[in-house]
Symmetry: C2
Subunit: 252 residues, 2 copies
């Protein structure tokens, strides 16, 4: 299967073959982590940079009262902590959702890399900026959208992000997120998530079979949730002027 890191970063910079070769080399040594395991915990002082190559993970914070807020999802090609070594310690935790293939890169390697390959450096910058934008959009969703549209928006975002790294078809993807997880993501109770999902299903906007989510008419769901993908800063978007929309290698 194609390298999600390269697929992703190509949206952020014009990588040359040389750059891709370097990235491919870096991602050749992976470590397998089981589902529902912490990768990093709040308070840790990570020494190397982690990257999800396969599987789902998520950032979260626990409150003293035991409640949990999930602040973002990591899909193949996403970095856990590209720059946290600058901060003293992690202010949140990261855990796997499914079994994951994780790459661990020593901090110095990243430093050298960015010094030597400016296009890669730029792409990494781009990736962190997009992460921020995604967090901001989650805030917008939680603050302004009612539960059904918020949920729909979230599902649209995952669709697009997974498509960008070749992990989703036109209309469906693996969706290993529990309703409890969803609640902690959207700031809703599990019960309300359940009812909201049912509503989307009844309206024919989504289908959920096992752990596979299908969105029969993505445009309909996007319209319903007023989804505007501009904050993902991807190329080959529908609503953007796009010089070269070639994603020639994405076909498995």
């Amino acid at each position: 299967m194609s390298n999600p890191l390269i697929l992703r970063l190509q949206h952020g910079a014009d990588l040359a073959d040389e750059d891709c070769a370097v990235l491919a080399d870096i991602t050749s040594r992976t470590r397998e982590v089981g589902p529902r395991e912490d990768l990093i915990r709040e308070g840790d002082k990570p020494e190397h940079v982690r990257l999800i190559l396969e599987g789902f993970a998520f950032r979260y914070k626990m409150l003293p009262d035991g409640s949990r807020q999930i602040t973002g999802y990591l899909v193949p090609g996403d970095f856990c902590d590209l720059h946290v070594w600058i901060l003293g310690e992690m202010d949140h935790s990261i855990a796997t959702l499914t079994r994951c293939s994780v790459v661990e890169i020593p901090g110095e390697t990243v430093t050298e890399l960015t010094a030597r390959y400016p296009r890669i450096a730029r792409a990494l910058w781009w990736a962190t900026l997009v992460d921020d934008a995604v967090t901001r959009e989650a805030l917008v969703s939680m603050g302004q959208r009612p539960a059904d549209r918020q949920l729909a928006h979230f599902l649209c975002e995952l669709l697009v992000r997974l498509q960008a790294v070749g992990r989703a078809s036109e209309t469906s993807y693996e969706f290993p997120v529990t309703q409890e997880d969803l609640g902690d993501t959207l700031g809703l109770s599990t019960v309300h998530v359940n009812r909201t999902l049912q509503k989307l299903r009844d309206d024919g906007l989504i289908t959920l079979k096992g752990k596979t989510l299908t969105i029969p008419d993505p445009d309909a769901l996007k319209r319903f949730s007023a989804f505007n993908p501009n904050y993902l800063h991807l190329r080959s978007g529908e609503n953007k002027t796009d010089p070269r929309g070639n994603d020639s290698r994405s076909g498995a």
Copy 2:
């Protein structure tokens, strides 16, 4: 009055006198902007980096239905868009809340600066990472905290951030935020913000005279909102309470 940029960045790196001199020089030329004016709009392609030297500003996004979500506040010493030139265009807007002194720095100057003064480069990195952490914490607040604690948490954060740049006393600061602004920040209606503010006042946790907010007992407000300043990554940290409850949901 002392330079808020230097005060702020000193929390992120050990700046030498030389570094401070450079930063002082940069911030010597400011532009005055009136209250309630857009600094940058969604869709713009900023060419230079902006920095708030005096006054308040905020990031926001508008939805098609006209609703607005404020995603963060900029206080003296904060950058508007340290790295956005890497992304094609702004995915959100920034507007002033009060009259502001703004510094505009050409992108190349920043590039040169970071190449030449590694401590400054590190400090700028630090600043952007803290910004992210602040956004994540807002998400936690909105998702998990009831209105009164969410509001209290927000006020605590502002207190600490303003104190870090010498713009707040031990117990009070200028608070030019409208109740409508507050609603768009916290994801609440104006009416509910009003009633929540009253509750905090009735409980003696805050006082609001004109545009001056006073927190008679900051520790009380922090306790009430379970405010843990670790995500601000400031030095001079007073309280190092453990943030995590012992919850086992995320596995391991």
